[in-house]
């Protein structure tokens, strides 16, 4: 089966590090948006976000003598922000990117960073400058299937990311939305489907709240955490009429992540699964 070798090589590459998978997919979505959905190809914006994130990460890598492979994390945050954050001027973008990356090293509790970097960067840019915004409608609802199938499919097949948070979040939101739109308000099913198939929501579901570094460590706590985000974003959206509510919900719920971690300990996440296994073995060896 020689012809399968390249595919196999790609799969191995994607599986090797969850961030490979994220970078490939986020970049793919960005290209899709520009080419297919006719977004404004604001190359300056993308360059600025990517450059700033990588640059700030590089500063911290030098300062704290971290492995250079952690640049991948910055690339993931930057691409996520390219997909979600828009700004009228460069200042808001630079601020967002700097806050996103710096927060990973500064806002730490018990050795873990508290906020999802992209999430905090977006929030900082929107709240502090008033010059930035999020366009929840930019994906429309037509690409839902594309998102669901590719993202969820790959996550299951490649066992990367934390699909349990995605499923708990989306499942809870779907149930709440169903009660609100269909059962209570009396809209048809397609209104419900249209709300849930919003591309930005799915992007958030599969690429933002699955970040293993900022989700609670124990699975039970992760599910509780995801459900809390879903409930809060439902409330913010329906009762306070806040657009892109999930982003604000995640920001708020992130503050209790250390508490959830304290309640139930779980295994620390390491991007490179193989290497972490090796380290674990070494540690065991040293202990014995």
């Amino acid at each position: 089966m020689r012809f399968l070798q390249p595919i196999n090589a790609i799969l191995v590459f994607l599986k090797q590090d969850a961030r490979h998978f994220q970078i490939v997919f986020l970049a793919g979505f960005l290209l899709f948006g520009i080419l297919q959905l006719h977004w404004d190809a604001e190359l300056t914006r993308y360059l600025l976000l990517l450059g700033t994130c990588l640059g700030v990460q590089a500063c911290f890598i030098r300062w704290k003598s971290l492995p250079w492979s952690s640049l991948k994390s910055a690339a993931v945050s930057a691409l996520g922000m390219c997909l979600l954050l828009k700004a009228a001027g460069p200042g808001a973008l630079v601020l967002g990117a700097v806050v996103a990356i710096a927060s990973k090293f500064i806002l730490r509790v018990k050795g873990r960073h508290v906020f999802n970097p992209g999430n905090l960067g977006i929030a900082a840019a929107v709240l502090l400058t008033g010059d930035a915004w999020v366009s929840p409608g930019q994906w429309g609802s037509g690409v839902a299937l594309f998102f669901l199938v590719t993202a969820a499919g790959c996550m299951v097949v490649l066992r990367v990311g934390r699909i349990d948070t995605s499923l708990a979040f989306l499942g809870t939101l779907a149930v709440l939305e169903y009660f609100r739109t269909v059962l209570y308000l009396g809209w048809e099913m397609d209104v419900w489907l249209h709300r849930l198939s919003n591309g930005s929501l799915l992007l958030f579901t599969f690429f933002m709240i699955t970040d293993p570094m900022t989700t609670p460590r124990a699975q039970r706590m992760r599910v509780i955490w995801s459900v809390a985000i879903a409930v809060l974003s439902f409330l913010l959206g329906w009762y306070f009429w806040i657009n892109s509510a999930p982003i604000w919900a995640l920001l708020i719920i992130s503050t209790i992540t250390p508490i959830l971690d304290h309640l139930q300990h779980g295994d620390a996440f390491n991007w490179n699964a193989e290497r972490s296994e090796r380290t674990a073995r070494n540690e065991q060896h040293q202990l014995t």
């Binding site: 404004d40 190359l43 300056t44 971290l66 009228a88 929840p136 429309g140 249209h194």
Partner: protein, 463 residues
């Protein structure tokens, strides 16, 4: 095509067949305040006119106004897709460059006459919250407990409402919205001396910034068009639950399109609408129109810029403070637009206009060498214009080959058969490219600074 029901539906008393094809709305958003002005391009007999619009609060008398139709005409003329003409100079002779402007023809054919009105005060779970007379209109603000009661009440009061309407009324009742019910008082309408129903303006405070389009689809078959003129203090308005995309703009098109610009834009819009999946909101114009701002407000302007008085009439009376104008065009149908349109105000102040360019060829003797180069380029250009025209509208351009050949005919025989060069006019994909110098400097700094930092003591943190 014309006439409109906007967010509400027309409720006919006679068996008039009603189609809501096109409507216009002015939306002013300032903080939590929304001012909606709806144009009443009602097709049928004015005495049959009635409209139901869901509103978030019980409006006070002073929150309801009647404005003049010419407000819409002024805004429409100003922000409509435009055609601009340029004249090439003769490379063999020196000419002054000048340009002129042609206004787009957006057809509008409103009709309307008399109407009758009757009231019953019976309640079927329906509360009459308020009752006003504004201009030629009789206005009721209703709240209801359930849609069947509201439907029955409307029927009992002599309205004929679409069979499917009550299903759509329910969600609005459940959302605690009120119903703004409008009828025309024939006596006052005749006294007013107007031929047409004037637009109604509502003003309310609410955190909901949306247009309830679902009711308007209850008595319409197929798709309807709506033009939204939105004004904010900060920047563009965009749709939150549907995509907002720019309509194709800044394209060079063939000279013969001038005579049929209306048809051209109609076909262009229809094609863009289909290509984007029939579920998008199109941006047609976005510009800073602050009265005190002396910069260019359009290039070219197809109508005189709106006057401060017109902004005030639309509700954007901020005393000369920054005003941003967004014009959106949405063609919606039930299958592709299940949700009401929800909007948000963004800080985006990037200008945009739907603009199509005609370039007139140079006149006079073009036999000099530069003239022949020019003609060669002109032939290529016209070939591309035809391709562009076909791509934009789907028109069959094969029959217009003479448009290119007439230029070729003026070339000397040895030049006539030159091939069209490839990649004659490749543009960078983004408007922000190549990046400006501060941007380049910032990126260079981002690469250099990490290289200069000295590592601190070893740490085990993993990021």
């Amino acid at each position: 095509m014309h006439a409109s029901a906007f967010c509400g539906f027309y409720v006919a008393k006679a068996d008039a067949t009603l189609f809501n094809d096109r409507s216009e709305v002015i939306l002013v958003r300032d903080g939590q305040r929304t001012i909606i002005t709806m144009s009443n391009d009602f097709k049928g007999d004015v005495k049959d006119f009635a409209m139901v619009v869901p509103v978030p609060t019980v409006l006070r008398r002073e929150d309801i106004r009647v404005v003049e139709r010419r407000l819409f005409d002024a805004l429409d003329a100003y922000s409509a897709p435009r055609l601009v003409e340029y004249y090439d100079e003769n490379p063999c002779v020196r000419f002054d460059l000048y340009d002129s402007v042609m206004e787009s023809e957006m057809s509008r054919a409103p009709t309307s006459t008399g109407m009758a009105q009757e009231k019953t005060a019976r309640k079927m779970g329906v509360t009459i919250e308020a009752r006003y007379t504004v201009g030629e209109y009789d206005i009721l603000l209703l709240s209801a407990k359930e849609s069947v009661g509201l439907k029955d009440w409307l029927i009992a009061n002599g309205y004929r409402i679409p069979a499917t309407a009550h299903e759509v009324l329910d969600p609005y009742i459940r959302s605690n919205m009120k119903f703004f019910v409008v009828k025309v008082d024939m006596t006052r309408f005749q006294q007013s001396g107007f031929n047409l129903l004037r637009p109604i303006q509502l003003r309310f405070e609410s955190n909901k910034f949306m247009l309830p389009i679902r009711l308007g689809m209850a008595n319409s078959n197929g798709s309807q068009d709506m033009i939204v003129h939105a004004f904010t203090r900060t920047g563009r308005v965009e749709c939150v639950n549907y995509r907002t995309v720019k309509v194709p703009s800044d394209r060079n098109i063939s000279l013969f399109v001038k005579q049929q610009f209306g048809a051209f834009y109609k076909d262009l819009f229809a094609r863009a609408h289909r290509r984007e999946g029939r579920n998008t909101v199109f941006l047609e114009y976005a510009w800073n129109v602050t009265p005190s701002f002396s910069g260019v407000k359009c290039d070219p302007c197809v109508g005189p810029p709106p006057m401060p008085r017109e902004f005030a009439e639309a509700g954007a009376d901020w005393g000369g403070a920054a005003t941003f104008y967004t014009r959106m065009h949405v063609r919606y149908a039930r299958d592709m637009f299940p949700q009401d349109l929800v909007f948000q105000v963004t800080p985006n102040t990037e200008n945009f206009q739907a603009r199509y360019i005609l370039r007139h060829p140079a006149q006079g003797d073009l036999t000099c060498s530069e003239g022949q180069d020019y003609l060669e380029n002109l032939a290529y250009r016209r070939q591309r214009e035809l391709g562009e025209l076909n791509a934009l509208t789907g028109w069959d351009v094969a029959k217009h080959q003479g448009y290119v050949n007439e230029v070729r005919g003026r070339l000397s025989p040895e030049r006539r058969n030159n091939a069209v060069p490839f990649g004659w006019n490749i543009k960078w994909p983004g408007d922000g490219f190549p990046p400006s110098w501060p941007m380049v400097a910032w990126i260079a700094a981002l690469i250099l600074v990490p290289c200069l930092i000295r590592p601190a003591k070893r740490s085990v943190a993993v990021a």
